[in-house]
């Protein structure tokens, strides 16, 4: 079922990770991505992985979820692996040589494993941001982080509001899609078999009701907001202010140390490095 998709979902909790300031979490999430791309050897990758697992354990989000979040991107990982496996040429003799044009080198294997693990770590680690941060806190943080752009007349508040609303309605829309699909299946709709065109046609009975209700909902929401005198970001205050404290700065410091450590590893342990992956 569609409902089993967990990427972007929020799992309420009260762990230290949940309580970190969401602005810091976004910055650390970006830093984590940078860190993964800086790493070019196995020790660094393992260190990044351990770091990530540690944070997961602290957050109390079940590790079973992690694998669920990976499932939708498995095809992407597979393609990356295959491309690297066949197209990377090493210096020595190829391990496998089929008719001279399909060749696999040791370097190809190591690179594709490295890439696959890196993508997995990337997705798993980044998912943690939404798993542990409520959508409201997330968009608040984005609004605050982007607020310098207001000087350039960039509609930061409006953008954040749109994101909040979109995030808020994703689960609703998914639930609704599930319901409408079930209702049409009950009338004998065949949504799973047939060629591409047939499948696309079979989706019409799902999409039309979905659009109808989404527009209706948008209309009602706009009316409800106007009734409560919403008129944009000008002079608007918040009920819940974001607060940063010692724990947030400490977390940021740990993150910086991690990056520094990985860069040092790259420099001083180059013999474990992977050719073709340069930071």
């Amino acid at each position: 079922m569609l409902k089993d998709i967990t990427i972007g979902q929020f799992f309420p909790g009260n762990s230290l990770i949940h309580r970190l300031d969401s602005r810091f979490k976004i910055i650390m999430d970006i830093a984590y991505v940078v860190m993964l791309f800086l790493t070019s050897n196995y020790i660094g990758l393992a260190a990044a992985g351990l770091f990530m697992i540690l944070i997961y354990v602290m957050s109390g989000v079940g590790l079973g979820l992690v694998f669920k979040s990976l499932r939708p991107i498995m095809p992407l990982i597979a393609i990356t692996c295959i491309l690297n496996l066949f197209f990377i040429k090493g210096d020595g003799e190829p391990l496998v040589n089929l008719w001279g044009f399909i060749t696999i080198y040791t370097e190809g294997i190591t690179t594709s494993v490295f890439m696959a693990v890196r993508i997995m770590f990337l997705i798993i680690g980044m998912s943690l941001l939404t798993y542990t941060t409520s959508p409201i806190a997330l968009t608040d943080a984005i609004e605050r982080l982007l607020s310098p752009l207001k000087k350039l007349h960039f509609p930061v508040h409006e953008l954040a509001m749109m994101m909040t609303i979109a995030l808020r309605f994703i689960p609703t829309l998914i639930e609704e899609t599930d319901k409408i699909m079930a209702a049409q299946k009950a009338r004998g709709a065949n949504l799973d078999t047939g060629g591409l065109i047939k499948k696309a046609k079979a989706l019409i009975p799902v999409l039309i009701p979905l659009f109808v209700s989404a527009f209706k909902r948008a209309n009602e929401l706009a009316l409800a907001m106007e009734c409560r005198c919403y008129r944009g970001g000008e002079g608007r205050t918040r009920m819940k202010q974001l607060h940063s404290g010692a724990k947030d700065y400490i977390a940021l410091l740990i993150m910086a140390l991690m990056i520094a450590e990985l860069v040092l590893l790259n420099i001083y342990v180059p013999y474990l490095g992977i050719p073709y992956i340069t930071p």
Binding site: K3, D4, T6, F11, G62, G64, L65, K68, E176, K179, I180, A182, A183, Q184, K185, A186, R187, G188, A189, N190, I204, P205, I208, P209, V212, S213
Partner: protein, 287 residues
Amino acid sequence: MNIIELKNITYKYSVGTPFEAVAVDNVTLTVEKGEFCGIIGHTGSGKSTLIQHLNGLVKPTLGEVYIDGQNIWSKDTDIREIRFKAGLVFQYSEHQLFEESVYKDIAYGPKNMGLSEEETDKRVHYAAQSMGIGDELLERSPFDLSGGQKRRVALAGVIAMEPEILILDEPAAGLDPIGRESVLSRISDYHKKNGTTILLVSHSMEDIVKYAEKVLVMNKGKVFCHAPTDEVFARQDEIVGIGLDVPQITKVTMKLKEKGIDLGSDIYTVERAKERILQYKAKGSIC
């Protein structure tokens, strides 16, 4: 003959996430052919989940489902055949309408069955008529109809498949009293005329006792009882005990009983109450 047989059905939502929840808990149930069974229970008691097992929309985590003697999850069962046999109308079924005309929308099910134009046409007209949709509405857009009309079009869309079992999830929810009556009495008439097995989920005890022959009471994912209406109401204290409502007239007779006027504990319609009160008076007691 039992047209529906459920054997130890358990269903869990979102297995393996923090949201895991048991919606249906070890339910064993049989429904006879031609039965009009009312299903009642609190919100969240698992009614909707249970009925989605009957046409294979959800697969039980544990247990077996037999429709017409056929295990619907065995390899050689075509699940679409089961869906045509057990027609399911969802709650707020008007949300499923999508065609440009009422006629086409009702014809969607029969078309999926692969019926001929002629047969489809016959069924669409019969279904529309059963649900009180006049010919003049058939060419209108379903989106231009009133709420009650839309609901009846959606019902007709399933009835047009002429299923042997018609399962309705709160078909009257959210309608005004006239709309409710017009939907429910038409379902009842359809049952009488065609002898279709009907499962009707409802919040309202009044609706259930008015139309159903048997009642299935669900409580926290379990079957609390499944018996003829009389027997179920003989246990009215227990029903009130699990927090369900009883018809207003039953409330009155329960209060009367507390005051020492026992009219019997199987009263759930005004007619029967009237009968009993007259009997009671004839015996020369107070009142």
